[in-house]
């Protein structure tokens, strides 16, 4: 059971609205987003329910849900939302807030998704571009799933699908600096 009314002002709603630029209060729970979302069946709470949870001020529950990690930012839902709510922006806002406030959903799937993105960013930071083979390898190592997709690898490599090297940027330094400034901006927000 959830007890409402004791926590005072719904600051979570405000945080999400400010960060996303959307107004979650406009959601009238029609569910069109849920039927649209390709991954709603994998989410702990599909978009419509996330909206309601934000309205109820359930900060922890939202942060710990896997929904915002599963959101692919495909914008299918927002394209159909009758109230024109930018749902992916709301998902992103929840995700960024959760990251900022150090809430960590430690389920295997979320860990993997998060790892993937971290490694990807790391690639860019290091090479300025994505190094696909290295990334896949690192992903498998870091998620302790060494043989994932290994059956695809020989074929893909053979067909030249995945190149064996990457040409790093000339101005790799510029990219590193960019990362540093962006990270600082992130902290000063």
């Amino acid at each position: 059971m959830i007890t409402l009314g004791s926590q005072g002002k719904n600051t979570f709603l405000e945080d999400v609205n400010v960060k996303s630029g959307a107004n979650v209060l406009e959601c009238y729970q029609c569910g069109k987003c849920v039927g649209t979302c390709p991954v709603s069946q994998y989410m702990d709470f599909p978009p419509r329910e996330i909206m309601q949870m934000i309205k109820l001020g359930l900060r922890n529950e939202c942060y710990m849900a896997n929904s915002h990690w599963f959101c692919l930012t495909c914008s299918a839902c927002s394209g159909r939302c009758p109230r024109e709510i930018d749902i992916p922006a709301v998902m992103e806002a929840v995700r960024h807030l959760a990251i900022d406030e150090n809430y960590i959903n430690d389920s295997k799937k979320v860990r993997e998704i998060r790892k993937f993105h971290e490694i990807f960013l790391d690639m860019i930071k290091r090479y300025g571009r994505n190094y696909e083979l290295r990334m896949m390898a690192e992903f498998n190592i870091r998620t302790r799933n060494l043989f994932k997709d290994m059956h695809l690898a020989p074929k893909a490599l053979l067909k030249g699908k995945i190149p064996l090297g990457v040409k790093p940027l000339k101005s790799a330094k510029a990219i590193k600096r960019m990362f540093a400034i962006a990270e600082k901006l992130e902290k000063n927000k």
Partner: protein, 657 residues
């Protein structure tokens, strides 16, 4: 010298909490002309008004200022108090210290108080220049115009005519009846629309006080309440209605087939046609856009077969003029086009139809003999999905508002489907079931139980094809699961929208319309059938979506308003109108051009006293003038005065702060 009385209201705490009322009273007392000033808790209450009455007599006041709420609120109330004390009511001025001060400067009592003082000073200054004014009375033409012959127009026309007031009913299409003539059975009682409507249509045609002008449109309205002049364009029908007997020989033989609007294009009609068998008048018209005789001079069959010689290919549009005193606008509604719902495959999938198409299919006199069929293959559907709120409550793709009738007609459709196809199953995707009306919830409950319809709470997300089925996908929010229904036919409860040409009509009539195109009532709660323009009333869906019971109530209310307006031989009118002084008028006629009501005409007067030579001046018809003041500001000779808003009054306000 003027003797002004000032009454400052506390409005309970509304003013008193944010404006120092006693200080305001002290301040106004310092004004030379103010002979009496006081404060009171509620000026609009009986004792408050009593104070005004007493002070007028006791202090021999010559004008009154009430500092209280907006004049739009209680000006009338206080004017009446002045009248009751034997004073001319137009010697009143209201200083709006609530809406314009206490409510909007709640954080700064000092500033609010000082502003209230200024507002009082301005009102006092203006009131000193006020003059005695008297209501104007104008003669009325006791004939009403009804525009639109749907159930709203029909009902209004009949009610007015029954009071023995002549009515001119103008209908755009060849027959009256409107959308109701297209319906099968109607909620919440399931009586057949035709059975209850057609007798009324016949009554209209035969009523001695109704002049029915079908296939026509109003093109111009001039004048003012009680004294309008209307121009009507009667479209050429190419059939002489006086001699035509409605035998039908012509349309049986006509070789040209055209999609039938009455049946939502599901079948065809001829180029010469009556819209439906029970049409009133039951005389055909030739559709000039499709008749090959009129287009290319080839055919002429209908003229050959008509025994009465009623066909006349040379007929022209005709302009008719009528003098009338009041107008009822009843132009109904349009169905919203669901094309923006691309995710439903609207326009690509034949087996998605609209509610009105469904209505035609299940109608006994419909194009499919009363049985719903799939447009793609003509098969009778088993699984039918009804989707509600299509275009309604959807600011992204459609319209923000709730269309009000679709919840109920969809319920009705599940019953009709069940009646016509016994082994069918209905699925309804809904967001809410809005069944607020007499007997409505009961109707919904009975339908749900009797038909076993599956209700799914959620907006449909997508429709796609699988074989010859349509897969309808949406969330059922009750169980929090995405569901797919395999449908043979999908019916969209498309939104009700305002008639496309309402804005144009509104401009022509000089009334206003809202952002959706619905015509605006004067007040949403207390004057729901009047418009802001005196003598023009609204009935039916042209004002907002509504069902038949509500439409008919509104139409009857319009009739009562018209009858009330025509109760005397003359009408009273606000005296805030303009007058022109002959001495100053140079005859430039600038004012004639700007008057939006055509109230200013030219006149000839002698150049000087006793002189025989004449010169041109402008003259205002006070019956027509609405008091906008355009002419006053444009006149370079300052010849025009607008009572209630004279230059001295306004200048006094300006300089008195």
């Amino acid at each position: 010298m003027a003797r002004v009385g000032v009454f400052v209201c506390f409005c309970g705490a509304n003013i008193a909490d944010y404006v120092d009322v006693p200080q305001v009273v002290e301040e106004v007392k310092r004004i030379r002309e103010v002979k009496f000033a006081t404060e009171y808790k509620y000026m609009c209450s009986d004792p408050g008004q009593g104070m005004i009455r007493d002070a007028i007599v006791q202090h021999k006041l010559t004008s009154i200022v009430v500092a209280a709420c907006s004049p739009r609120m209680h000006e009338k109330t206080f004017r009446k108090a002045l009248s009751d004390a034997g004073m001319n009511p137009y010697l009143l001025e209201v200083a709006n210290i609530r809406e314009h001060s206490s409510w909007v400067h709640q954080k700064d009592k000092k500033a609010a108080t000082s502003k209230a003082m200024d507002l009082c000073r301005m009102a006092v200054a203006k009131s000193i220049a006020n003059e005695q004014l008297h209501e104007i009375s104008v003669p009325v033409t006791k004939r009403a115009l009804v525009i639109g012959g749907g159930i709203a127009g029909i009902q209004a026309a009949l009610d007015i005519a029954d009071a023995r007031i002549p009515v001119v009913l103008v209908e755009r299409s060849p027959s009256i009846g409107g959308k109701m003539a297209q319906l099968d059975e109607t909620f919440p009682t399931l009586d057949c629309a035709q059975c209850i409507l057609t007798p009324k249509m016949v009554d209209v045609a035969s009523h001695p006080y109704i002049e029915l002008i079908p296939y026509s449109e109003v093109i111009e309205l001039q004048g003012f309440v009680g004294n309008y002049k209307v121009k009507i364009r009667k479209k050429a029908s190419y059939v002489n209605f006086k001699t035509c007997t409605g035998c039908g020989a012509c349309w049986q033989k006509c070789p040209v087939k055209v999609p039938n609007e009455y049946n939502m294009g599901i079948d065809k009609r001829k180029a010469i046609y009556t819209p439906f068998p029970q049409a009133v008048p039951n005389k055909p018209v030739i559709d000039a856009e499709h008749c090959t005789m009129l287009l290319k001079g080839k055919c002429g069959i209908c003229a050959k077969v008509c025994e009465k010689g009623s066909i006349d290919y040379t007929m022209q549009d005709e302009i008719i003029e009528r003098e009338i005193g009041a107008v009822v606008v009843a132009t109904g509604y349009d169905m919203w086009d669901p094309a923006p719902y691309e995710e439903y495959g609207v326009g690509r999938f034949k087996d998605i139809i609209t509610s009105l198409e469904f209505e035609r299919m299940v109608s006994a006199n419909g194009p499919t003999n009363g049985v719903p069929v799939r447009p793609s293959d003509g098969k009778v559907p088993k699984n039918v999905v009804f989707i509600k709120c299509v275009g309604s409550r959807d600011e992204a793709k459609g319209i923000e508002y709730c269309s009000k009738i679709c919840c109920m007609y969809t319920t009705k459709h599940t019953i009709l489907l069940h009646h016509k196809v016994h082994d069918s199953h209905a699925y309804v995707f809904y967001m809410d079931i809005r069944a607020a009306g007499k007997g409505y919830e009961e109707f919904v409950k009975k339908a749900q139980v009797d038909t076993g319809t599956t209700y799914l709470r959620g907006r449909v997300s997508k429709i796609y094809r699988k074989g010859d089925k349509l897969m309808v996908r949406g969330e059922d929010a009750q169980i929090g699961q995405v569901v797919e229904v395999e449908a043979d036919l999908v019916v969209l409860a498309t939104a009700v929208s305002a008639p496309k040409d309402n804005p144009e009509l509104a401009r022509m009539l000089g009334i206003s319309y809202d952002k959706y195109g619905y015509l605006s009532e004067a007040h949403p709660k207390l004057r729901p059938v009047e418009t802001a323009k005196a003598g023009i009333f609204l009935a039916g869906c042209t004002q907002a979506p509504k069902d038949i019971p509500e439409t008919v109530s509104q139409a009857s209310a319009c009739a009562a308003k018209v009858c009330g307006l025509f109760a005397g031989d003359t009408m009273k009118k606000d005296p805030m109108v303009s007058t022109i002084s002959n001495e100053y008028c140079s005859g430039c006629q600038n004012c004639v051009k700007v008057c939006p009501y055509g109230a200013i005409v030219t006149d000839e007067v002698p150049i000087g006293y006793g002189s025989k030579e004449l010169r041109t001046v402008a003259k205002i018809n006070e019956g027509v003038c609405q008091g906008c003041g355009s002419c006053v500001a444009i006149c370079r000779s300052t010849a025009i005065t607008l009572a209630g808003f004279t230059d001295p009054q306004i200048i006094n306000e300006i300089v008195s702060i």
